[in-house]
Subunit: 189 residues, 2 copies
DNA sequence: ACCTGAACACCGTTCAAGT
DNA sequence: ACCTGAACACCGTTCAAGT
């Protein structure tokens, strides 16, 4: 049977959510689509590029309308939306973080954070640094969180579950550090 | 020829630094040691456990005497030492971050940060949250940094190199956020 | 204690050829 | 435009057997 690019991505998300990122192989995905592995290379030039498309679709499905409030509320909204989107599918955080690290996809949150921080009064350089600091926190935290959640639900572990507020506290720590660097908050002269 | 556990780790570090983490396979490592792949399973029960030992050795080689100053200088020292240790070997950041995520090794910096933050006056819960926030930043930032450095030195890219101060600024952002949460800085009642 | 030899069940990718 | 069939060069891990 014949498939379109979007069919491949949809099936990849189903395989991801059912079997995990480690089992999302080109061969497994091809089998699920009832085609030869080589057929996938008609749609994507490599597995990396396929995974980038999958990550973008995960984020697109989790997207929400931008709030139009204060810069810090917008930052919080972007980070929370990103977290929720990644937690929606098994290994979603690891997938999006990996794709983002290679700059192949998942860059929408990055752009939104830079915009919010510049609207908040940060110059371009500091907005970039602050955005990367925020994203390193979010990707690291949520990957960690998801690993623990999945280990617990697999019964592999019953270690202390991370406090529910841990994400909010970590995010607030970074946000406070950013606030102190807004020129508008540090009176000139 | 017969090998000890430490011979395997030493050779693994050499393979890592020469060919990168993706090419550090059990088969490649075995060939380098002139043994069969199955021989490695006499020393390590899985590749994951071997990589944990390699990560611990990378950190041990980069370790420095702890400074005995203010809590925030100690935090800065632990983070900087960790960064330098990971940057010493090709793909060192990705290796240590991965092993740490699975809690199989590389936990020494984690313990040192918790200790420094508790000495700084944070309660155990907040010290844990702050430590995870710091480590997510350090692992994320240095992995990123090393990927860009390695891509540049491979001539693959000549993208804007990250500003040299980027690590220091990001670290200061997180540190400032932590400072605001020290009970001693927020006068009770 | 440390290693061999052989096997099992997989990978990503390429490429000429088919419809 | 989308796919097949076959091949290339690999993986991690297990296990009985050897010294």
């Amino acid at each position: 049977m014949r498939h379109r690019r979007s069919d491949v991505v949809d099936t990849a998300i189903r395989v991801l959510d059912t079997y995990g990122l480690a089992d999302l192989s080109m061969r497994r995905l091809a089998a699920e689509l009832a085609v030869q592995p080589s057929a996938l290379y008609h749609h994507f030039r490599s597995k990396q590029v396929l995974l980038a498309a999958v990550a973008d679709e995960v984020l697109a499905r989790g997207s929400r309308p931008h709030p139009t409030g204060a810069w810090d509320e917008r930052v919080r909204a972007v980070c929370t939306t990103l977290r929720d989107a990644m937690l929606t599918y098994r290994d979603g955080a690891e997938l999006v973080a990996t794709v983002h690290a290679f700059r192949l996809g998942g860059m929408a949150p990055h752009r939104e954070l830079v915009a919010a921080l510049e609207d908040g009064g940060l110059d371009a350089g500091l907005a970039g640094t602050a955005t990367r600091t925020l994203l390193h926190f979010v990707f690291g935290h949520v990957s960690d969180e998801q690993t623990q959640l999945q280990a617990a639900s697999a019964g592999a572990i019953e270690a202390e579950p991370r406090a529910e507020s841990d994400f909010a506290v970590g995010l607030d720590i970074v946000l406070d550090g950013i606030r102190l660097r807004r020129p508008v908050d540090r009176p000139a002269g």
